[in-house]
């Protein structure tokens, strides 16, 4: 059992935003209440149509996606998904995206008005249109501004989801912590491009895509390791976790919990198998989560 911002998690495993929708589909394969939390797809204040297809390209040991956070907007999300999630008997993390600080605030206000969630996860990788389309999360100042604006209007615990497309992730992590984040989640996808050698053009409709899957795991583990040493708030680690051993690496590097993303695609029961594997590891080593979080640092 672990706690993040004073809320108990039955297991230290959630799912990564955008790979699991709101849980309905994968709820056919697994019992959602066995997860420590369900993390939703990004929700914006108005509907986003997303990028043209193709939206995914498989790569060696990973995949690129350029979904473009297609979503129905917070109003429809509340109507269609929030009640379903509130009945799943586990923690709910609603992932939030926006193009301006105001966009994020509107989503939070709408959610808070409807019973809200256990946590809001701020996806700071979205392009910030007021700052020339550069994402909030690559700049400590912008991350701090966004986080503290959200902090001011809600009591719901805030998780800031960090982008790996930065020179020093600890700088952004510290800015989020100082602005009042209750926890951090990392890493989001790494920016990449795939080129179709027949058409001689970028393969993805969105041109660039986010790389996820086992290929990014060592980078993600390194970033969790560095961030753990730089901040005091808990970390939810993710990036290429496919097996229990991968999850345990993240925990030893400093993650209090982990999220399963791309692994759901080839194995819809991956999250449950990873929970079981972590438990076996803890039993075999006669320890508990507290005994191993950050033990490798």
């Amino acid at each position: 059992m672990i706690k993040i911002a004073n809320k108990e998690w039955k297991t230290p495993v959630t799912v990564a935003s955008g790979t699991f929708a709101s849980g309905r589909e994968y709820g056919e394969f697994i019992n959602l209440s066995h997860l420590g939390a369900v993390t939703t797809k990004g929700v914006s204040d108005v509907p986003w149509s997303g990028n043209p297809a193709p939206r995914v390209a498989e790569t060696y040991g990973g995949m690129l996606n350029s979904i473009g956070v297609q979503n129905v907007g917070v109003k429809m999300f509340i109507e269609k998904d929030l009640e379903f999630l509130q009945n799943t008997n586990t923690n709910i993390i609603v992932n939030i995206c926006g193009h301006t600080i105001d966009d994020y605030l509107k989503v939070i206000e709408a959610l808070d008005d409807h019973g809200g969630a256990h946590y809001y996860e701020l996806n700071v990788s979205c392009p910030n249109i007021k700052e020339g389309g550069i994402s909030f999360g690559v700049n400590a100042k912008e991350t701090e501004k966004l986080t503290s604006a959200c902090r001011k209007i809600t009591k719901t615990p805030l998780i800031v989801k960090l982008s790996p497309n930065v020179t020093d992730i600890t700088e952004i992590a510290k800015a989020a912590e100082e602005a009042g984040a209750d926890a951090l989640s990392l890493i989001n996808t790494l920016k990449g491009i795939a080129i179709d050698i027949n058409s001689k053009k970028p393969f993805l409709g969105g041109i660039t895509g986010g790389l996820s899957g086992p290929a990014i795991k060592p980078i993600a583990v390194r970033m969790v390791y560095e961030t753990y040493k730089a901040v005091k708030i808990p970390i939810i680690g993710m990036g290429g976790i496919f097996r229990p051993e991968d999850a345990i690496e993240f925990i030893l590097a400093g993650a209090s919990a982990v999220a399963i993303g791309t692994a759901n695609f080839s194995n819809p029961r991956a999250s449950i198998e990873i929970i079981n594997g972590i438990n076996e590891y803890l039993e075999k080593n006669n320890t508990d989560m507290q005994g191993i979080i950050g033990a490798a640092t």
Binding site: G18, T19, F20, A21, E25, Y26, E28, F29, K41, S49, G50, A53, P54, R55, V56, A57, E58, T59, Y60, G61, G62, M63, N65, I67, Q70, G213, P214, T262, N264, F265, S266, N267, P268, R269
Partner: protein
């Protein structure tokens, strides 16, 4: 949909690089046009591979696929008695209506899912006039023709230089022939094949005001409706899954809909924005 561990019953090559895989399967009965997603055994492959249900008989599932890249190569290596995980059944298939004059149009690797459709349409209506047009590039690519013959009149075209034109003109001349004999135009067309073929058929259906269903393909990740990778453009107002041939002539605003779940892979052709 669920995950099923299936034993390979048989696997054989039936045309150039094209394989027929029969799995023992005890899951929910698939509808024609639904697909399964095969979880590759090779751990270096990240995503499951969507393959259409070609034919289903209680306990057995037949898939016909082409060996193209690493995923289908690893599927082609499977031997009888080996086991493999599949997620099935997926998507929304062809609609089994009561129409009497039915045309089925398949091109290349779009042909396999139409077999179960032809079978089920024949079972549903023994008197139906079912015409099946199948187009292939050349002799080496021809698949399943004898099996289709059990369910309707089969017209095959082969043309290495322009398989689409060959298929289209065979459909045209057959139709004209039919009409001159006093027989009716089709009431419904079901099609699966290369995008340009389906687009052409959809256009024809629109001109003639014929109800038309088309099975679309898109790059997928989850295959179960969760990731929003597999989208196609549909008009915003589209009701999806209707059985109407009312064509809206205004170019409507679009939205992206998933191919892998409630809305696809089989779409009413008038509810797709063809590009």
């Amino acid at each position: 949909m669920n995950i099923h561990e299936c034993e390979i019953f048989s696997q054989k090559q039936i045309a150039a690089e094209i394989f027929e895989l029969i799995l023992k399967y005890d899951g929910e009965d698939p509808a024609p046009g639904q697909f399964v997603s095969i979880v590759p055994k090779d751990k270096n492959i990240i995503l499951p591979r969507p393959i259409s249900v070609c034919c289903f008989n209680k306990g057995y599932l037949k898939l016909v696929y082409k060996r193209l890249g690493t995923g289908t190569a690893s599927i082609a290596n499977l031997k009888p008695k080996e086991k493999i995980n599949i997620i099935a059944p997926l998507g929304t298939g062809f609609r089994l209506t009561d129409h009497k004059n039915i045309s089925i149009v398949g091109g290349g690797l779009g042909v396999p899912p139409l077999l179960e459709l032809a079978k089920r349409l024949r079972e549903k209506n023994t008197n139906a006039n079912i015409k099946i047009y199948l187009g292939f590039r050349d002799e080496s690519q021809v698949i399943l023709v004898d099996e289709f013959k059990k369910y309707g009149e089969v017209i095959v075209t082969l043309d290495p230089s322009n398989p689409l034109e060959a298929l289209a003109s065979s459909i045209n001349s057959n139709l004209n022939n039919d009409i001159s004999k006093g027989t009716q135009k089709p009431d419904i067309i079901h099609t699966c094949g290369p995008y340009i073929l389906m687009k052409r058929i959809a256009q024809y259906a629109k001109e003639e005001n014929i109800l038309c269903f088309t099975s679309l393909e898109q790059r997928m990740a989850c295959t179960v409706g969760a990731c929003l990778a597999c989208v196609v453009k549909v008009p915003v107002s589209s009701s999806v899954n209707t059985l109407s041939a009312n064509y809206d002539t205004n170019a409507p605003a679009f939205e992206y809909r998933r191919v892998c779940t409630a809305t696809g892979p089989v779409f009413n052709a008038n509810e797709v924005i063809w590009e």
